[in-house]
């Protein structure tokens, strides 16, 4: 649905450290910042694709190019087969976009007026528009506040309204740049549910998403692209991304009567890399079992062996490398 090929974008930035007089009268020295080196990725129809990256990695820039606000230096982007540069108007009609959420709505209008206005810009009108506004009010949880001035909304409410405006024309493709920033936990949850259940399951909307919340990306994405310094450095399903970094799945067990157990029976199991035990003052032991990279500790087997050897198992915890670990590794300088 979205095809981004060899995208490259440089910005010229004026330097702020020029002297006062120079700023007033002279040419301000500038430097070039490469926001996108070479970005290539595809988002399939109906897919949920997340771009993750550190601040300044180029996520917003990529989204702006896709939504026709920014022209790239080179490379091509098509949405639903339409080139963003040559057929920008049909591309825009297909897209619902939320960038800089709270700033993209009119604070001096009410929520309803904002929705109506943007609806009209997308050629939604009359009764259809009115119904849709009510629907959106429900979806983003603003039904009761729709007739208030936006400036009286809290930040999260503005953000929600902005998302509402992006949805007003039932877009087939949604570009959401950090949409859950400023949302409380419950609203963010509702919003994610709405995306997964309503938009994706029922309407098969394609979504390109950026966020700094790893759990969000992990939970919702079909695929994740990690952007670093203007390049996609890793791409794949969340579990594939997690698997890309060395890091072991670890099981920690507190057990009684385990002091004399021969731990080599555990190390003999497949996919176990290392076992380590230490005795605790209380007389019980803490056993730490690490799996071979890319595999999991066979918890059931481990428990079975330990109990058959007479150990009483107290606490058991499993920890896996998280998306965050992977992210930190992949974007490290």
């Amino acid at each position: 649905m979205i095809e981004v090929k060899n995208l490259r974008k440089e910005f010229k930035q004026n330097r702020a450290d020029a002297g006062l007089l120079r700023m007033l009268f002279g040419r301000v020295p500038s430097e070039t910042v490469t926001a996108l080196e070479d970005v290539t990725f595809n988002v399939e129809e109906g897919e949920f694709y997340s771009l993750l990256g550190r601040n300044g990695a180029g996520k917003t820039t990529t989204i702006k190019v896709i939504c026709t606000l920014l022209l790239a230096d080179s490379g091509t982007v098509t949405v639903g087969g339409h080139d963003v540069e040559r057929e920008s108007s049909s591309v825009r009609a297909m897209l619902g976009v939320s960038i800089r959420g709270e700033r993209s709505v009119y604070w001096r209008l009410s929520g309803r007026q904002n929705l109506a206005y943007f609806g009209r810009l997308y050629d939604v009108k009359g009764a259809a528009l009115r119904n849709r506004i009510e629907e959106i009010g429900e979806i983003v949880g603003l039904s009761e506040r729709l007739d208030d001035y936006v400036e009286r909304y809290s930040m999260g409410m503005k953000q929600r309204l902005a998302i509402g405006c992006a949805l007003i024309h039932r877009p087939r493709v949604l570009l959401l740049d950090e949409p859950t920033i400023g949302l409380d936990a419950a609203s963010a949850r509702d919003f994610r549910d709405f995306i997964s259940h309503e938009l994706r399951a029922r309407e098969n909307v394609t979504i390109l998403y950026t966020t700094h919340y790893m759990h969000e990306a992990e939970e919702m994405s079909d695929r994740i692209g990690i952007v670093n310094h203007g390049r996609i450095v890793a791409e794949g399903t969340p579990s594939k991304i997690i698997g890309m970094v060395p890091g072991n799945s670890v099981v920690t067990i507190d057990a009684k009567n385990a002091v004399n157990i021969d731990l080599s029976t555990l190390s003999a199991l497949d996919s176990i890399e290392r076992v380590h035990a230490e005795s605790l003052d209380s007389g019980s032991s803490k056993i730490r079992i690490e799996a071979v990279v890319g595999t999991e500790v066979p918890v059931a087997d481990v428990v079975h062996r330990l109990t058959s050897l007479g150990a009483e198992i107290g606490n058991l915890s499993v920890s896996r490398p998280t998306l965050e670990d992977a992210f930190l590794r992949l974007t490290a300088d």
Binding site: L20, M23, L24, F25, E151
Partner: protein, 261 residues
């Protein structure tokens, strides 16, 4: 200063304001009086001056250029409000009033420069025929500035008090003051009660001494009374302005309107 200098056009705009707004009015004077002063009689009888171009140009120039002081301060507050830095600034300043005073000196030197530029550029389109008594002119100018800053204080409180105060402030400083203070015309054309109102405004006196010192070469010794009146009135404005600023600031903090814009 730093913030201002990024908008370099502000500099140019401010320096040309005098010319662009006053020149049409001076030309209007020419249209009405006649190119060679054919119909000057009634006007000089009314105002006591023969030099109608100077009569228009001097106070109007001062009026328009000192307005830039108001907009300067006002805009400063507004832009800080808009970019969300006002709250930040007020947190970090020990005396909030220094927000207004900061940079004022730079602005005053700009202003004096602009007044000179304004009057000079006007001489291009009309013979202003100035006849200046320098000591008196300088005292008048300084007292005028003193009054301007006092009034600017009062106006800047508006910014903390009402939204969109910019436009209110502009209306006051462009219309109410020039009209009531008789910039460009003698207040003798007003009916009596309006003349009384007019005399209660320091700027009326400021324009008066400026005309006297710059057009009629009146020395300081003959303007003492006016200077004292102007000084006292302006001082009162400073006091009111300081008080209002603190009151409105408190109010804004209470209602939380600092962050709104």
């Amino acid at each position: 200063m730093l913030v201002q200098s990024r908008a370099r056009s502000w500099f140019i705009t401010a320096s040309s304001t005098g010319f662009f707004f006053v020149a049409p009015l001076v030309l209007m004077g020419k249209t009405i009086i006649g190119e060679k002063g054919e119909r000057l009689g009634p006007f000089s009888e009314l105002s006591g001056y023969d030099n109608y171009t100077g009569y228009l140009a001097v106070p109007l120039c001062f009026a328009f250029l000192t307005n830039s002081a108001y907009s300067w301060i006002g805009q400063r507050i507004r832009s800080e409000q808009q970019s969300g830095t006002l709250e930040r600034l007020l947190i970090s300043l020990k005396y909030p009033i220094s927000l207004l005073l900061g940079g004022a000196w730079a602005h005053i030197s700009f202003l004096l420069f602009f007044i000179v530029v304004g009057i000079a550029s006007l001489s291009l389109i009309a013979d202003l025929d100035l006849n200046i008594d320098w000591p008196a002119a300088i005292v008048s100018g300084l007292l005028h500035l003193y009054a301007v800053y006092g009034f600017a204080f009062i106006l800047s409180s508006l910014f903390l008090w009402i939204r969109d105060a910019f436009i209110v402030q502009q209306s006051i400083s462009y219309f109410v003051i020039p009209i009531l203070a008789g910039a460009g015309f003698p207040i003798a054309i007003f009916p009596g009660w309006l003349q009384a109102v007019s005399k209660a405004i320091p700027f009326t006196w400021a324009f008066d001494v400026e005309r006297a010192s710059m057009l009629a070469h009146t020395p300081v010794s003959e303007l003492w009374d006016e200077f004292v009146i102007l000084f006292v009135m302006s001082s009162v404005m400073w006091i009111i302005g300081y008080w209002m600023f603190n009151v409105t600031l408190k109010r804004a903090k209470r209602t939380g309107s600092l962050g709104l814009y």
